[in-house]
Point group: C2
Chain length 316, copies 2
């Protein structure tokens, strides 16, 4: 078994690769077999182990992503979430590689927002508003930059110092972009063509009344029922709401679970997912409408990027 660190994966596999590989997989979902993920609590609160296996029957390759959640880790300068992906060659049965899964998880989530932005936002979108500048933010930025001619990025974070640190870390890598930190989230929401939310908030991070016609929103933060990042009063105003994975959103996305209960939205009448956008290949928006993409993740997205990264690493 070959072992690849985060640095090695990062050096060989990039946002454009991830977007391409996920789109390819979405076009051939019949080849994918996965089960519900397994969770074993390992301590107080959210402390747990998550196991997400998935196989590609066509390519005869399988993965499992093994994730540890250690809530008190930040006190010890360690990440809360640590992921590792094991790849098995199903033709020979051999377990061939171990890939650090942290970067790949952030990258596939950024790629999903990129794909949604590509199919759902106005093609002339130039201003990106980012709410939340934590661990997932950079790859969310990259996903949007990959598909739209972004010239300006507005940033809001509850702790403004963290937004400053983020800009200090990324501005040099993107000299063509103007970065501006805002202290009032309303300013960001009113001015942005695309709003990208990546927080762990349990209350809405923006006011639905501030969202202008023609805006596309990506929400990747709420991945537990108690998390409610997006203001769900916006949902009735949206012309299109697309999910990365309907079953996952039903179980995990707090603002949608609440909206369904309150009658602001109905899972029963909902059929739009990213697979439909990509396979049908048409942009689903009118110029002046509001569109929303909600992402919670699923093992087959990890499969797409893990096999893609392995392919690059193995032939490098």
């Amino acid at each position: 078994m070959k072992v690849f660190t985060e640095a090695e994966v990062k050096a060989n596999y990039h946002m454009a690769d991830a977007i391409c590989d996920i789109e390819q997989l979405l076009k051939n979902m019949d080849d994918i077999s996965q089960t519900t993920r397994t969770v074993i609590p390992t301590g107080d609160g959210a402390k747990s182990m998550l196991y997400m296996p998935c196989v590609h029957l066509g390519k005869q390759q399988g993965i499992i992503k093994i994730t540890s959640i250690t809530p008190d880790n930040p006190q010890h300068q360690r990440p809360t979430t640590q992921a590792n992906i094991i790849i098995t060659d199903l033709k020979t049965g051999e377990h061939i590689a171990s890939l650090d899964g942290n970067y790949l998880t952030r990258l596939r989530t950024g790629a999903l927002s990129g794909i949604a932005t590509n199919y759902m936002s106005r093609t002339d979108s130039q201003i990106l508003g980012m709410i939340g500048t934590g661990g997932m933010a950079y790859e969310q930025l990259l996903g949007n930059l990959e598909v739209r001619p972004i010239q300006k990025v507005l940033l809001f974070n509850r702790t403004i110092e963290k937004a400053k640190t983020f800009v200090a870390q990324v501005a040099d890598k993107h000299p063509e972009i103007e970065f501006e930190i805002v202290s009032d989230v309303s300013d960001l929401v009113k001015c942005s063509d695309i709003i990208n939310c990546q927080t762990q908030s349990t209350t809405p991070v923006f006011d639905a009344a501030d969202v202008q016609n023609g805006t596309h929103i990506n929400g990747i933060g709420s991945y537990r029922p108690e998390m409610k990042e997006m203001d769900n009063r916006l949902f009735p105003k949206a012309s299109h709401i697309v999910f990365d994975d309907l079953e996952g959103v039903k179980e995990e996305a707090g603002e949608f679970i609440e909206a369904d209960a309150k009658g602001l939205f109905s899972f029963a009448n909902h059929h739009d997912d990213l697979k439909g956008c990509v396979v049908d290949g048409n942009t689903v928006r009118e110029k002046d409408s509001i569109t929303i993409f909600k992402c919670v993740g699923a093992a087959y997205f990890d499969l797409a990027v893990a096999l893609g990264a392995w392919n690059k690493l193995n032939t490098h």
Copy 2:
């Protein structure tokens, strides 16, 4: 993540270690958390991936055993079953080691037979009869040798050539033991103090009428409902029947599932497992009775040997 090959695990972790570590774990089962295993079919017939996670809450260490089943592998000189074990440190959340799981699986299965033999067979057992000389046989031999003063080993295999190959491979390592291959399994059954079955047979490999009073039998072969290695007409004659894992036997052991349906045995009235033998610490046999141990395996046994092996490898 550190990676250890089969040869490295084998050089540092042995049968006595495995027996000790499994007994220790059986005495502290409250510390163990596991879920049912996940199976994803990956092709025709039994071709599949198996995922068996398990955590030790006390030690704050977790494992997952990832096993590929590739039925046509023997045609290509590769093993049908290939296992890999990933260890996670739950205190830090770090994925710390990858251990080849093939030897550890054989070793823990041999250790389970060793533990059963130790608690259930006559202490003066000197003749061991082995039915089946395939991939699991050597560690089954080692498990019995570890706990009883075996002087003679009788061997039967459907293809006699394979029994000869097995003896040629192991005889030099055990010069104190007399090995004898028999062509009639009845001779083996009538003469043995302990009978150890490790076959994939779908029909009984011995006749219940041949089993003498005072014999102990270990059956490790039937791990699917269609497999029926032991003659279940023997079950009503046994003074004690002990399982490694009751839930697993109910689902997987063909001869017991059939016996329960036919009324030769009742799961409903059955409570003896290896945990009871070890924790209670008493041998459950009378001198002239027939005793049976049935083993199908479970993730917590893999946990015991993986953490034990890691401990040796990491401090070596």
